[in-house]
Symmetry: C3
Subunit: 314 residues, 3 copies
């Protein structure tokens, strides 16, 4: 029968109530080019360790949901071409069939919560796709976050998505949204969007209290912390807007629809910004990891934090 | 750590299985003008007490989710300008930050259920907004009701919303809908809409049995009781339709979109009907409170009613 | 108080961990013409018994949710004109009011799961309706499946629905989808659609392991097994496309909207294919029942199968 494989180091930290931050593997497998992806994966773990936080990179390895990849497993996820991308609904199938795959925001959140981890750093959430009223295309991330008690630090959602509709869905689904030292929703590659965030928090201890209070209220939803990339690291606004416009125009001209749109937009976007979007993407994730570390430390110190919480058993 | 603050009177009634009806505070803070709002709030509580039912008006007071406001707290919610409006996802944040705010249908339902209260009277539910296929704007009330075991007495949804789409969502989300002595869905300001309700109930005891059977089936959804305002109290149909049309036309002409639409429609609606829509709004809520009182009494007397039910712990 | 009425034979099989397959009654009451419907209902039960599987046809009988109809109850569901069609949200109301009705995919799934049954054979799932961005019309089947741990064997969804949007919703809602010996999503009357299924399974034992692993992960979602009708039994493709086109054109010409569209499309479809669509419909269901039987047998034999699982109590 399926069992979570939790690395000794992660298990020990969770059991002792020490700070742990989960990391996803889709970024490594699909979000960054080789060999940069493996370097970044190692770097993110180092960023956490330097802050006294245990990293737990998550993936499915030969049918085992693995919380805390070792160096060999990390290398395998980073270097295997076309490794599967597994959302929550794919986990039991990949497990049953003994497959290996990278986990998304949704499945990383779920596995982390099941292992008793309360904080997760990623780049951007999945969301509602442009043209959703035609395609009904909406990432499983949102519904999963509505039912998974974990704090996710992100830089918003990529601008190839329908950002406004994504924010509406988070509201409809009852997912708490905090702006990290901002009242403006960040735009992944850009520090700001036109959208407002209702709640601004400035201290990690406040996020920990939100987490504790959400649990005390019996809420199952995640807490999303929206953390803007520093302005110094953001993509040039004009370049961003021009490339996005071009990509959308070309997709329309080619008559692309449904699942064909997103990969085309991302590929065009990355190509046309040359290396700039890649560097911003890495800055985004590094920045989220450091905020997640602070929150995990605050949660560990919180009077109703991890010591009082058992691993999530549905 | 967050604890529900439950008024002694409410706690005693819940523990003894005596009838209790929850009331929301957004109506008081945002739905009615001062000083009428405080008069109505007091009047609704009196209506309940006269029927042997304990009222429990709910709000967030200085970070404490409070079930059963006292006179000072009620006055504060009624008289503070721009008091926050808190849906479910805002509760843990407002609590963590020590804020005060009014609770919506969603958050009032959740807090009432957590405190062991099974019946809630409001005016109208939130719903799906007109233009939702463009904006994705849908109130968190619907998803919350899909997962919160409480009976909500309302007069439908306001006609500035997409009533048909709201009914479809309630069906999709599996929320039971009962017509109170009607087979026609009511229209908040009007006693009737063009929409049919599949199940008509005529007796409060039947609603109590539906509540008991829903729990026995392990359903988590609320039961929505749609209670038409008496025809004598409804807004003049022609006035309603004309003012609604004008408001929609003006909103389109001004190019309003997303969150800007609803406040504009409501303000126009209220201004153009002079005081008439306010009087109907009050009649709607009073009428719902009396039906909720009957249901709470029937639930209290039901063999599988509150004595057999413990407060909802997720 | 409401209690599930479980036939002795079904209860004994569930308690002993022997294979059981649930069957729905909407097919009998509304999907097939009399007297063919009763013949098919009996035939499906025989198909299961011949494979050593206990059938459990489910309906609401005089307010009692009944798992395993006897001959008299089956006849009543088959022969009563205009018997009610009950989705999940209708169950507590029909129960409270003592009504009789047929259960849909959603309500059959829920009642089966509550009775400890893990496999269910139907024809097609409900789904997202064409024109949903106008009407918001989406079957409650999808949301129910997202929260009900049961394996549903179907032949996809009827082509009068928006098949692509339905697949997107299953993905968004996190419902695992397996292609039974196919990587192409089946089209109910046709063996194939243009849509891909990400996971193909070829052995019933693999489905049983997926079921076990989903439970071990604490997932509440159903597992949908998409099983194409054999090509020999499918409707002629050209006939299918022509009749569907005509039906859609006529519906548009008549200005039909919302709930009026589906019955019109189905009626037109059935009339214009003469008996052919009926014969295919029966072949679809028979074919699903035999696959469900294999899965139930494999689940019964699985090391973490029914012996280790108690009836679903929410
Ligand atoms: Mn998608
Ligand atoms: Mn909204
Ligand atoms: Mn429908």
């Amino acid at each position: 029968m399926l069992k979570l494989v939790v690395a000794d180091e992660v298990r020990a930290a969770v059991e002792a109530g020490r700070p742990v931050v989960a990391l996803e593997s889709t970024l490594i497998a699909h979000g960054l080019p080789r060999p940069r992806n493996l370097e970044v994966a190692a770097d993110l773990e180092t960023l956490l360790r330097d802050r006294g936080v245990t990293p737990a990179t998550i993936a499915m390895i030969d049918g085992a949901p693995t919380i805390g990849l070792d160096a060999i497993e990390l290398t395998r996820i980073a270097n295997t071409p076309n490794v599967a991308k597994l959302s929550v609904r794919d986990l039991p199938v990949a497990s049953a069939l003994g497959r290996t795959g990278a986990t998304t925001v949704a499945s990383t959140s779920l596995l982390a919560a099941r292992a008793g981890i309360s904080v997760f750093a990623t780049g951007g959430l999945g969301g509602v796709h442009r043209g959703w009223a035609d395609s009904a295309d909406e990432s499983a991330d949102l519904v999963t976050l509505a039912g998974t008690p974990i704090t996710v630090v992100c830089a918003g959602v990529k601008s190839i998505l329908d950002v406004g509709a994504t924010l509406e869905r988070l509201e409809t689904l009852g997912v708490p949204l905090l702006g990290w030292r901002t009242s403006t929703f960040p735009g992944f590659y850009l520090s700001r969007t036109e959208f407002v965030v209702d709640w601004r928090v400035d201290a990690a201890a406040d996020v920990a209290t939100v987490m504790a209070d959400a649990r005390a209220l019996g809420l199952r939803a995640a807490v999303v912390v929206a953390n803007p990339v520093p302005e110094a690291d953001q993509l040039d606004q004009e370049l961003h807007d021009r490339v996005l416009d071009e990509a959308l125009t070309q997709a329309a001209r080619r008559g692309l629809r449904g699942k064909a749109v997103t990969p085309f937009l991302l590929a065009t976007f990355h190509r046309e910004t040359a290396g700039a979007s890649l560097e911003t993407n890495i800055a985004v994730v590094r920045n989220n990891v450091t905020v997640a570390a602070d929150i995990a430390v605050a949660w560990s110190a919180h009077p109703t934090g991890p010591d009082q919480t058992s691993p999530d058993q549905t």
